[in-house]
């Protein structure tokens, strides 16, 4: 994957993040990691940028400004979704005033008739500066992708399994009758 050939100028867009990812982005540009040696430059206006470093779960309040800032970036543009919140809404994904990360934002963009830009996901809460630099290198074609697509299904908990066993036993003993409704047992207290 090679999305961009030359130096990448980035604009940092915070859509309601907790600052964790934002500070790590600045850390990536600070002397220890020094992303500027890779031609990355933080610019003050979206009109000067090639890519957006996008953080936060997109709150309703920030939405109009975020949409306008993304529209202000000239084509072709790349979005780097930095952090768990930007990638999928994070811990806030189903809150009442959060759109749920960059996918929620793209849904709004599509409803407005705007095609969503190419996106690189950098997960982590917050991702380390090295991970952010890896994302940038990926856009430049200097590094390869680390993760393949995989799907995850949550295994059924012991309480659910016990309930199913109980139902099977009931059917064996009383064939043709509906089992009585039992309240599902919640998972116990998480132990640390």
């Amino acid at each position: 994957m090679k999305l961009y050939r030359r130096s990448l100028w980035v604009f940092h867009l915070n859509s309601g993040s907790c600052n964790g990812c934002d500070i790590e982005i600045l850390n990536a540009l600070a002397p220890r990691q020094d992303a500027e040696r890779l031609g990355v430059k933080l610019v003050g206006s979206p009109r000067h940028a090639d890519a957006i470093l996008f953080t936060g779960p997109v709150t309703r309040e920030a939405l109009p400004s975020v949409v306008r800032a993304i529209q202000a970036v000239p084509e072709p543009k790349i979005v780097l979704a930095v952090g768990a919140c930007a990638c999928g809404g994070g811990i806030w994904h189903d809150s009442y005033c959060v759109l749920g990360g960059i996918q929620g934002l793209y849904r709004v963009l599509k409803s407005m008739g705007v095609a969503p830009p190419k996106t690189i996901y950098v997960p982590g809460c917050p991702p380390k500066p090295e991970a952010i630099i890896h994302g940038i290198m990926l856009a430049r074609g200097l590094a390869g992708q680390r993760q393949a697509r995989s799907e995850y299904f949550e295994e059924q908990g012991p309480a659910v399994k016990a309930e199913e066993d109980l139902h099977r036993l009931f059917h064996k003993c009383f064939p043709g009758r509906l089992p009585p409704k039992t309240a599902r047992v919640e998972w116990g207290v998480t132990r640390y």
């Binding site: 309601g16 907790c18 850390n27 920030a62 959060v98």
Partner: protein, 568 residues
């Protein structure tokens, strides 16, 4: 007989205070909390006046709770901190669900303005006599009469974004958008995305030539519904992790304050070793936050070498945090009742941390005393953005901001928590009240914190890491206070059933400190505005509020949603 309270004998301890407060309602003392319910009609403002202005306490925050499932009413709690008596006074007001109106205390205590408007937004209790009962937090396209913190509102009910947003985006292109200016001043919009701000916040500065005459600001772009999520789908121990996500800089102090609040409510005694580890992590967080602030301050002063030096030094602190907790930020160490097992500080690790701290201190002292004695730095910061001691009292500012204005305040010293009970905490206080004083206070705090970590590591006792928390009683109130890098951080909880909170309300220090910004901006040069705003070390993701202040008349107005792309 209705006495005004002036001729009364001042109560000497909390028991006399309780008897004294019988004039106003029905007091009930439970440990550190003095509940005052059934306030006699028409006596609320007298009571607030007595607590806030006569007894030497201060107004902290207000919490609205929907307790209809429990007793059929909405409750509003006003929290007052009376350090002298060692109690929190909780004034408990009841609102009938059919006609939810209570009396406002904002005319007596202006600091209650935001908190009361927040309750109007979220719970739907109206405040009689509030000077500006407008919407504060929720977005402009949020429908009327939908109150998200009521218990009958589902936390994941995503209202469809109205056409208004698409319309707004279409119409407010930069070419057609003009901010309204009072009089004939020039308006300088700053934000929400601007090189000088790293968070989405929006300021409007009104200038005459180079002088700022007026300022407005608008926030709440980071409102993520954290209170509702915590009350709806998280258990006690999970909330301490979401509490850390309130802020990416000072998260651990939020999680500690939350845990302390639940421990207070449930009467859990935290083992000493856990208290020491909490304090050590809190001090590491304070050092990295102050390093970060110094770097940003130098950057805003145009001294980028200083910025680079500070951020390079800060990486060593991040290494330290990674060594102790496994992550650079979001330590994830706290649970209710103590510290998680794997976050123990072993002896070999303690020795390593001490060695690293010595290196950091040496490196720090090599550069910073030279940088802060530079003439250029002094000229840009001395006598700029001055906040006098009396103004600081008026806005009840907190933390290093207050200490730079000559107010001796520090939760660590005067209401000690965690391991600060066992060690002496030095707090630097300066009287100048300018940006230079704030810089020096933070500089001294960094050195004091490094010493403090050394002392804590020396005395760390051998006890278990967490207490038994299998039983947390229902409907108990608790308050947890910590000294965040920016000031006092207060968390209020009511415990519920099914291993869940009934209500949780965090209050961050920037909430109070932001109010003082317009006072500091008045009459200053435009070029100094970024460093003046930054000098309080604002953390908007913690605070997130809207206020509009007219500096000339002191009047506040609401501001409509409008975005402006930075760099215009």
């Amino acid at each position: 007989m209705r006495s005004s309270g002036i001729n009364q004998v001042r109560p000497r301890n909390k028991y006399e205070l309780m008897i004294d407060l019988r004039r106003f309602g029905e007091p009930r003392l439970r440990g550190k909390y003095l509940f005052l319910s059934r306030i006699k009609s028409g006596r609320l403002r007298d009571l607030v006046d007595y607590l806030h202005w006569r007894l030497g306490g201060y107004y902290s925050t207000s919490i609205g709770v929907d307790e209809r499932p429990l007793d059929g009413y909405f409750h509003v709690y006003h929290v007052f901190v009376l350090e002298e008596y060692g109690v929190y006074v909780l004034v408990d007001l009841i609102a009938d669900p059919g006609h939810p109106v209570v009396e406002s205390i904002t005319p007596v205590v202006p600091a209650a303005n935001w908190a009361e408007r927040e309750i109007m937004d979220f719970i739907g209790v109206k405040f009689r006599g509030h000077p500006e009962p407008h919407r504060l937090i929720l977005p402009d396209d949020w429908p009327e009469n939908v109150y998200p913190l009521r218990k009958d509102y589902p936390y994941d009910d995503k209202l469809p974004t109205s056409d208004k947003i698409a319309k707004l985006v279409r119409e407010s292109s930069p070419a057609t958008w003009e901010p309204e200016a009072p009089g004939d001043h020039t308006v300088i919009p700053v934000g929400p995305y601007h090189p000088a701000l790293h968070e989405p916040e929006y300021f409007e500065l009104f200038v005459e030539g180079e002088k700022i005459v007026d300022a407005r600001y608008k926030g709440f772009m980071v409102h993520r519904g954290i209170e509702k999520i915590a009350e709806s789908r998280l258990s006690y121990n999970q909330v301490s992790f979401i509490a850390e996500r309130i802020c990416g800089i000072c998260g651990f102090t939020h999680s500690t304050a939350y845990c302390q609040a639940v421990e207070e409510a449930a009467g859990i005694d935290v083992p000493e070793r856990a208290e020491y580890i909490r304090s050590i992590l809190l001090e590491i967080e304070r050092i990295h936050s102050h390093f970060l602030w110094m770097g940003v301050a130098f950057h805003l002063l145009g001294y980028d070498t200083g910025f680079m030096i500070m951020w390079r030094l800060r990486e060593s602190i991040m290494d330290l945090a990674e060594e102790l907790t496994g992550s650079r930020k979001m330590y994830g160490a706290n649970i209710v009742g103590g510290i998680r097992d794997k976050w123990d500080i072993r002896d070999d690790k303690a020795a390593l941390i001490k060695r690293m701290l010595d290196e950091i201190r040496e490196e720090y002292l090599k550069y910073i005393p030279k940088i802060i004695s530079l003439e250029e730095i002094k000229k840009r910061t001395r006598g700029v953005g001055v906040l006098s001691r009396s103004d600081a009292r008026k806005y009840s500012v907190l933390g290093p901001h207050a200490r730079a204005s000559g107010i001796k305040t520090d939760v660590r010293k005067y209401r000690p928590y965690a391991a600060y009970k066992y060690v002496n905490v030095e707090i630097p206080v300066l009287d100048d009240g300018d940006i230079y004083a704030r810089m020096i206070v933070r500089h001294e705090e960094i050195l004091a914190s490094i010493d403090l970590i050394h002392r804590l590591l020396d005395n760390i006792p051998k006890t278990p890491l967490h207490a038994d928390t299998s039983y947390i009683p229902e409907r108990r109130h608790g308050i947890g206070c910590t000294e965040a890098p920016r000031g006092e951080d207060l968390h209020f909880v009511i415990t519920g059933r099914d291993n869940k909170l009934y209500r949780w309300r965090p209050r961050a220090p920037t909430y109070n400190n932001l109010l003082s910004v317009p006072a500091m901006l008045r009459g200053e040069y435009l070029a100094d505005a970024p460093i003046i705003i930054a000098s309080i070390d604002p953390c908007f993701s913690c605070t997130d509020h809207v206020v509009v202040v007219d500096l000339r008349s002191g009047r506040r107005r609401p501001l409509r949603t409008r975005g402006v792309v930075g760099g215009r």
